[in-house]
């Protein structure tokens, strides 16, 4: 247990005595460095390595997506282009959008956060390094599956938002749509993993004394982003799972002939899709908020206003999704709700833009290369924002919907609001990545070529759209008046591509030929510059404390390198970092992180096998492929066992802190809470689907249910009783017997549920209502199975003596999961009963 006597206020923390910096560096390198060679790259779990690898991979996917866009523009350069046939054109524009969204933008922001956050917050790594690595491998394998499909001519072809019924089995036979559904869901594992650890890292690993209101703004932006990812991605995952089940097993969630509704897909997709725009924009805005004050030699104007604006954006962005569906025939009042929310969201966005302009006004802007891209952002993003307000107005939206005007708008928002800030960030943080100075001249030229190429391509596309050209057409033989506009866009798109190539070349030249850069070249005040360049895996030889806040990075580099901060070196030969409390960031305990391991690679590969078997329609084998996944997860969790070394750690003279095995609120516990938020949103998405099909969908009435009310009521009563008792067992007792009882009760409930599904549930292929009931039962069953597995794991820990009076082991996680399972089971039973009674 955490001994509060060991955790005084940070103001009283005495500094460690200075040591030789080189000796500390060697000590830390021996613990935190990656293993050597290719194997070392495969087993690396360091946030520095993986963050950079995420970003490098994302840039490669960006290049591939860019090449696809050149093919699109070559096709559209003339009105009867014969460069691509329609089938290939459809695959290429679908892959262009999917790659840019799922394989470039999201992984890029994840990589940036993974690389930068620990440095900025004053810690040594992300909360869950193996999860970082798992996320990377899932991203890579998922992306490779999608790219391989393109090479074999079976890539998705239904647009990046995969509307049903076009993407349903009847209209999209073959595996093209499955590649998207399974590949994107595979990639989204990395998004959820990143969201969980970003949230936990920001809330629990800030330097001691760094209150939430003292965090660098980038951390606020990333906290908002990760919260949005936890809530925004599950509807997409839910929709993708439902559509894949429909395609694979003919359960008609989206089939109007059998009570389904294609609009349900649109709702689930845009519940993700619109917040996604802000998920992409917020990290970019975060880096802007960090760079602008430094490049203007001043402090940010309106810190509190910007935090409030982030808060507003995070919530309001979830009230806009229907503005992508203004033309589908929804009620007028609903149109007005979402139109109002779409207009309102411009306010917090404008607050940020004015805060940045105000910061520039009060400071002394210096026209370094990052500032070029920042100015490019202002010009481009503001124009994209204004066309966004135009599209939020329903009558205009009805005119411009699905035209090239929308294509232009989204590129102004995404390239203006994400790519320009990322280019600014790349040029700003490259010295910390490479330790080298850039080669002057090429970067500025690249900027101008990109700016001219971008506006030449997309400004004109507004006009093309207003003249009526729809999106996603490959030829327009009856509209020769669009030719000059399209030809101009195509020419400038090639200019744009040349600009991006010049930008990448500039980065390569800096990394390879640049002269050695001095520390903190921008004279920034944040912790990310208070370390050697290029940054080592461990970031800080000793961790910064409250007395290092609000001081220039230059002033704290040497004291931290000499070990005068907290927790210097790695005297125990383990990867240790400090875990602090959420609100006041007081020291709580020492977290011990896992070292290099190939487990994430093996686990993601085994998930990949499952995905490939699903793609091959080998469903029975796919089910069997989940066995190694489960085994590897067990091995993974076994890796967190305490071992022998449970002694408290001296972090400064006179202050010892317990290790996380003794902590009541460990990082793992916080991570599980974050994961359950995402899981709860997935559950809510399924409930939304059930309510939508039950209330709004105009399709044929559901056939009369054939279950026996008395038998079903008894079975549901048994399940309720079992989960309730299991929850009570783990809540009231932490003993071996309670774990055994929880195991038996969860297994018993699962058996009853399976029996009921087999004998009482109606055939899920006959109506969407029945299909959704079966999915809800499956959701509950999966959670009971996991709860039983966790109880079995706790039993094993009791047997090994890893759960004692002082060491909590897996027990808190079991208690939390069991509680969640009980609540979702009861809600499911209540909702399904109410639906049955009302119908």
């Amino acid at each position: 247990m955490s001994d509060t006597s060991l955790t005084p206020r940070t103001g009283t923390i005495a500094p460690n005595p200075p040591r030789r910096a080189l000796a500390l560096h060697r000590e830390l390198q021996s613990v935190w460095a990656n293993d050597r060679g290719l194997w070392g790259q495969m087993t690396a779990v360091s946030h520095t390595t993986l963050g950079l690898r995420f970003m490098a991979t994302a840039i490669i996917f960006f290049a591939i997506g860019g090449i696809l866009s050149m093919l699109i523009r070559a096709q559209l350069a003339s009105h009867q282009g014969a460069f691509l046939d329609t089938e290939l054109y459809n695959q290429i524009f679908t892959m262009h959008g999917s790659i840019m969204m799922f394989l470039f933008a999201i992984p890029m922001l994840e990589g940036l956060a993974i690389w930068l956050l620990p440095k900025m917050l004053g810690t040594r790594d992300m909360a869950f390094p193996r999860l970082t690595a798992l996320g990377y491998w899932c991203y890579l394998f998922g992306g490779l599956i999608m790219l391989t499909a393109l090479l074999f001519g079976v890539a998705p072809r239904d647009g990046w938002f995969m509307y049903t019924p076009l993407s349903s089995a009847a209209y999209s036979p073959g595996i093209n749509a499955d590649v998207w559904l399974l590949g994107v869901t595979f990639v989204e594992i990395s998004a959820i993993a990143a969201a969980v650890e970003i949230t936990v890292t920001i809330l629990r690993q800030r330097a001691p004394g760094m209150k939430l209101t003292q965090m660098p703004l980038f951390a606020w932006y990333m906290l908002g982003t990760s919260a949005m990812m936890l809530v925004g991605f599950p509807p997409l995952i839910a929709g993708s799972v439902l559509l894949e089940i429909e395609r694979a097993f003919d359960w008609p969630f989206f089939d109007p002939a059998r009570g389904g509704d294609p609009l349900l897909w649109q709702h689930l997709f845009w519940l993700f899709g619109h917040p996604e725009v802000y998920i992409i924009f917020l990290p970019a805005a975060g880096v802007m908020s960090m760079m602008i004050p430094v490049l203007c030699r001043t402090t940010i104007l309106g810190y509190g206003a910007i935090v409030a604006a982030i808060l507003g954006l995070v919530f309001l962005s979830f009230g806009l999704w229907v503005h992508h569906m203004f033309t589908v025939g929804i009620p007028h009042m609903a149109l007005a709700f979402f139109s109002a929310a779409s207009v309102l969201v411009a306010v917090p966005t404008a607050v940020q833009v004015f805060a940045w302009i105000g910061t520039m006004w009060k400071g002394s802007p210096q026209l370094h290369l990052p500032m070029y891209h920042i100015l490019g952002f202002f010009l481009t993003f503001v124009m994209g924002g204004l066309t966004g307000v135009m599209l939020a107005i329903v009558p205009f939206n009805w005119q411009a919907h699905d035209t090239a005007f929308v294509t232009a708008h989204l590129h102004y928002v995404l390239i203006g609001g994400f790519v320009f800030p990322m280019m600014a960030a790349a040029t700003y943080w490259m010295p910390l990545i490479t330790g080298r100075r850039r080669v002057k001249g090429l970067g500025e030229a690249a900027f101008w070529v990109i700016l001219i190429g971008f506006h030449g391509t997309f400004f004109i596309m507004h006009l093309t759209g207003l003249m009526g050209m729809p999106r996603r057409i490959d030829v327009y033989p009856d509209n020769p008046e669009w030719v000059w506009l399209n030809l101009t866009s195509s020419i400038f798109s090639f200019v744009l591509t040349i600009g991006f190539a010049m930008f990448v070349l500039d980065l390569i030249l800096q990394a390879t030929l640049g002269k050695r850069e001095s520390r903190n070249p921008w004279r920034a005040p944040t912790f990310d510059w208070a370390m050697p360049i290029p940054s080592p895996n461990y970031n800080f030889a000793s961790l910064p404390t409250a007395r290092h806040l609000d001081r220039d990075a230059d002033e704290v580099i040497l004291p931290l390198a000499r070990g005068e901060g907290i927790l210097p070196g790695a005297p125990n030969g383990r990867r240790e970092l400090l875990v602090t409390r959420v609100g006041d960031a007081q020291p709580d305990h020492v977290g011990v992180l896992p070292g290099n391991t190939a487990l994430p690679l093996a686990l993601s590969a085994s998930i990949g096998v499952f995905v490939l078997l699903m793609l091959a329609s080998l469903y029975a084998l796919a089910g069997i492929a989940l066995v190694p996944v489960a085994v590897l997860i067990w091995v993974w969790v076994r890796g967190m066992a305490p071992g022998d070394n449970l002694a408290s750690v001296a972090v400064t003279p006179g202050l010892r802190l317990p290790v996380h095995h003794h902590a009541r609120a460990s990082l793992g516990q916080s991570g599980l809470v974050a994961f359950l938020v995402a899981n709860g949103t997935l559950f809510a998405s399924l409930l939304f689907g059930l309510a939508f099909v039950s209330v709004v969908t105009p399709g044929p009435e559901a056939p009369i249910s054939t279950f026996t009310p008395r038998t079903t009521a008894i079975a549901l009563g048994l399940v309720t009783l079992a989960v309730g008792l299991a929850s009570a067992c783990v809540a009231w007792s932490g003993r071996h017997g309670a774990a055994m009882l929880a195991l038996l009760l969860n297994l018993g409930a699962l058996v009853v549920l399976v029996w009921m599904a087999a004998t009482q549930l109606d055939d899920p292929t006959r109506h969407a209502r029945d299909a959704l009931r079966a999915v809800m039962a499956g959701y509950v069953g999966l959670h009971l199975l996991v709860a039983a597995g966790m109880a079995a794991f706790a039993l094993d820990q009791f047997r090994r003596g890893e759960i004692t009076v002082d060491v909590t082991g897996a027990w808190p996680a079991l208690r939390l999961w069991q509680r969640y399972t009980s609540v979702t089971t009861l809600v499911t039973i209540g909702v399904l009963t109410a639906q049955a009674v009302m119908s």
Binding site: A305, A308, L311, F315, L316, A334, F337, P348, V582
Partner: protein, 99 residues
């Protein structure tokens, strides 16, 4: 943690009221006989839900400590964001065609 909860309270209340009124609207439209308007009772139900949502903000303002400074201001600003968003985004229940 309590402070973070207070900061999130205002926008979270908006999210709840928005979802409830939107859900109520969908349910009323689904059960309506005509395609255009719902009638007086349904309109009153929607406006009533909106007004109740606005009223829910008032006692919450009392939860915010009467201090000044950034830490106290952010929860207050959060509440104002939620209240203004509730007023603005759900105002259409009073003026637009229902279904």
């Amino acid at each position: 943690m309590r402070w973070l909860g207070l900061v999130l309270l205002g926008p979270a209340l908006w999210a709840v009221v928005f979802s409830l009124v939107y859900g109520l609207h969908g349910t009323l439209c689904a059960t309506a006989s005509g395609p255009e308007d719902l009638g007086r009772a349904a309109r009153l139900a929607l406006v009533g839900a909106w007004l109740l949502g606005i009223a829910a903000f008032l006692p919450v303002f009392a939860l915010i400590p009467e201090r000044s400074g950034q830490a106290a201001n952010l929860p207050r600003i959060g509440l104002w964001i939620g209240l203004v968003a509730t007023l603005f985004t759900l105002f259409p229940v009073t003026v637009t065609t229902s279904c």
